[in-house]
């Protein structure tokens, strides 16, 4: 009897949608891992030792784990920047640019108001970061709401304008006179650096990301706005005829999404770099897009996907240090994970 129970419980477990998708995903992840192992073998590296090092150094030590969390913060925020507008089928490929503008605004606040106390500084630069990213994204939102331009294209193009703007400031008016060759702003005052926890580099941005994710989930599932957003997502025309202002939603959701990416930029510039640099983001906005896409806009999924990608990118640093493999090589593993997910998810999204 007990045995039968166990067996049926096992089947139930397998039938459970979440567990099944978890199992399927582990299989896909394993496939990506083995393809990357083959790539490493071809280049004469030992894949088993590489994997052991990646996982022991990221998941096996508290320091390594905290570094993974540090990498997760901007990724979760930029993923939110994509996930929030995607609720009404807006495609925001501009997380990168919004992140840069958020960092730009935060830097402006930090280096021009050096006398503020810390308790005022942190909300001040957070608001500025949010505002910067939000305004940048709402330009695209406005163009889309007016029907003048596709937000996919305009957000993508504005990434470039944003990065060039940041370059303009760090090469020009904000250039630190102390640094002869490096284009960077003057360092943030100590009060403007986000506090970190537990002696690690995990900073206050983590709280912002968690609050953002919870709010996102709460608003979606528990409020009138969430309902209206779902209505627009399902049928924009029907929603409009029911008196929902799609125009307003497009701009506001782009603003909030961009604001999330702006917060990511604020966190990076304030807690990690401590000054504005053009090398602020190694494609965090684009990675966030992929994470949100993998998670299909689900808050928990975003956490899981951001964690996975962070382990992989943190592993890149390990490979560089111990195996003399360029750190960028782990991008292959990341891409492979995405490839298998992309290739696998046929017909589920498109319904064809």
């Amino acid at each position: 009897m007990g045995r039968v129970d166990k067996a049926t419980a096992g089947i139930d477990l397998f039938r459970n949608k979440r567990v099944a998708s978890l199992i399927r995903f582990s299989g896909l992840f394993g496939l990506a891992l083995s393809v990357f192992a083959v790539v490493l073998l071809v280049f004469g590296k030992n894949p088993i030792r590489a994997y052991v090092d990646i996982f022991s150094a990221t998941l096996g030590s508290s320091y390594g784990f905290s570094e993974v969390l540090v990498k997760m913060i901007p990724l979760a925020l930029t993923a939110l920047a994509v996930a929030i507008p995607s609720r009404i089928w807006l495609i925001n490929v501009g997380g990168e640019g919004q992140l840069f503008i958020g960092a730009l605004f935060a830097t402006w606040g930090a280096i021009n108001f050096t006398n503020l106390p810390a308790w005022l500084f942190l909300p001040w630069i957070s608001i500025l970061g949010f505002l910067g990213g939000g305004l940048w994204a709402s330009i695209s939102g406005f163009l889309r709401a007016k029907g003048w331009a596709s937000e996919t294209i305009s957000t993508l193009l504005m990434n470039y304008v944003a990065i060039l703007l940041v370059n303009f400031f760090v090469f020009g008016p904000w250039k630190d006179p102390e640094s002869a060759n490096y284009p960077q702003s003057i360092p943030f005052p100590d009060a403007a650096i986000l506090p970190s926890f537990f002696g690690s580099r995990v900073h206050l941005g983590a709280v912002l990301a968690i609050v953002g994710l919870i709010l996102f989930h709460f608003v979606l599932s528990r409020t009138r706005w969430g309902l209206e957003m779902r209505a627009i997502g399902i049928n924009q025309e029907a929603a409009r005829r029911n008196g929902i202002s799609t125009y307003r939603y497009i701009i506001i959701l782009m603003f909030i999404g961009g604001g999330m990416a702006g917060l990511a930029g604020m966190g990076e510039v304030s807690a990690i770099h401590g000054q504005l640099r053009p090398s602020l983001s190694p494609g965090l906005g684009y990675t966030g897009f992929l994470i949100s896409w993998m998670a299909m806009g689900n808050p928990l999924g975003i956490v899981a996907a951001a964690f996975l990608i962070s382990v992989i990118t943190a592993g890149g640093d390990i490979l560089q240090m111990t195996h003399r493999i360029p750190g960028a090589a782990v991008h292959i593993l990341m891409a492979l994970v995405l490839f298998v997910v992309l290739a696998r998810r046929v017909g589920k999204v498109r319904g064809k």
């Binding site: 003048w148 331009a149 294209i153 470039y160 303009f168 990675t287 003399r324 960028a328 991008h331 292959i332």
Partner: protein, 276 residues
């Protein structure tokens, strides 16, 4: 003084505009077939690194260009498999392809960092290159620069004046209708992506073999994305892309020539608005 400054701007614009134009043509061919490829950056990087390593090992830059082109074409087939056969999301697949190209090229090129090569030689066109000023500005480049405008014309001719190009554009506009008309959308799209990959590979190879003459990680520095913008800027037209690439190339060269940094963002801003 002003004359030599102008010449360095113009020749700089032509130099930096060349890989942009190859990349723009690549993106245009793909988009005419209905496929937006954000992974062009990765394709270019693969072309750059394979072209460079081949040149280092064989000492023959022409072979390097060929290998780079082929690498780009083959690498783009990964993207093709995802978006054509598996019908995956184009934007996400493109970004994933970009990251894959960044990583793979870093791995391939790791042991070649710091290698120097002769690179593609400048070919001085006899007589014409000796004309003062103009000769230096227009007739003193490597072979890929001379070939880029004919390539653009060729792409235009193929897309708009051949049966194959007509079918390709039909597939891009409406695959179902094209299928009903007896075309094979999948095969045409694969062909388009292979050609796009070759062009993207050449763009990358020109960067590493003629402009930088060395290899560095992520040396394309966003040119793949600029190409996506340029395609829209040139309204998906290969001939208009020539002007766009020159304009952007000019912006890059102005940036290198002048310390006046404000000049940089302007052309990019204007593209944003012009796209609409």
């Amino acid at each position: 003084m002003i004359g030599s400054f102008l010449i360095s701007i113009v020749s700089g614009a032509i130099h930096s505009g060349t890989p942009l134009l190859y990349a723009t043509l690549a993106e245009a061919v793909g988009e005419r077939a209905g496929i937006v490829n954000l992974g062009l950056e990765g394709v270019m990087l693969m072309g750059a690194v394979v072209g460079f390593t081949t040149t280092v090992q064989t000492g023959n830059p022409a072979l390097g260009v060929l290998a780079g082109a082929l690498a780009g074409g083959l690498f783009n087939m990964v993207f093709g498999f995802l978006v054509i056969t598996r019908r995956a999301n184009q934007l996400a697949s493109g970004l994933a392809l970009m990251f894959c190209g960044v990583g793979l090229s870093a791995l391939v090129g790791a042991s070649f960092i710091g290698s120097r090569i002769q690179g593609l030689n400048e070919i001085q066109i006899p007589f014409l290159s000796t004309i003062p000023f103009i000769g230096r500005a227009f007739f003193n480049y490597d072979i890929l620069v001379y070939l880029v405008v004919p390539t653009a014309v060729l792409v235009w001719w193929v897309l708009f004046r051949t049966r194959w190009g007509l079918s390709l554009r039909a597939v891009g506009e409406n695959p179902t209708a094209a299928f009903a008309a007896g075309k094979n959308p999948h095969r045409l799209q694969y062909q388009a992506l292979f050609i796009a990959g070759i062009l993207g590979g050449i763009a990358g190879a020109h960067l590493s073999l003629a402009i930088a003459k060395t290899w560095a990680e992520w040396m394309t520095a966003g040119r793949g994305f600029i190409a996506v913008a340029l395609v829209i800027f040139s309204k998906w037209h290969p001939l208009r892309a020539i002007a766009g690439a020159l304009l952007f190339g000019g912006a890059i060269s102005l940036q290198l020539q002048m310390q006046a940094r404000e000049c940089r963002s302007r052309p990019f801003c204007s593209t944003c608005f012009l796209t609409f």
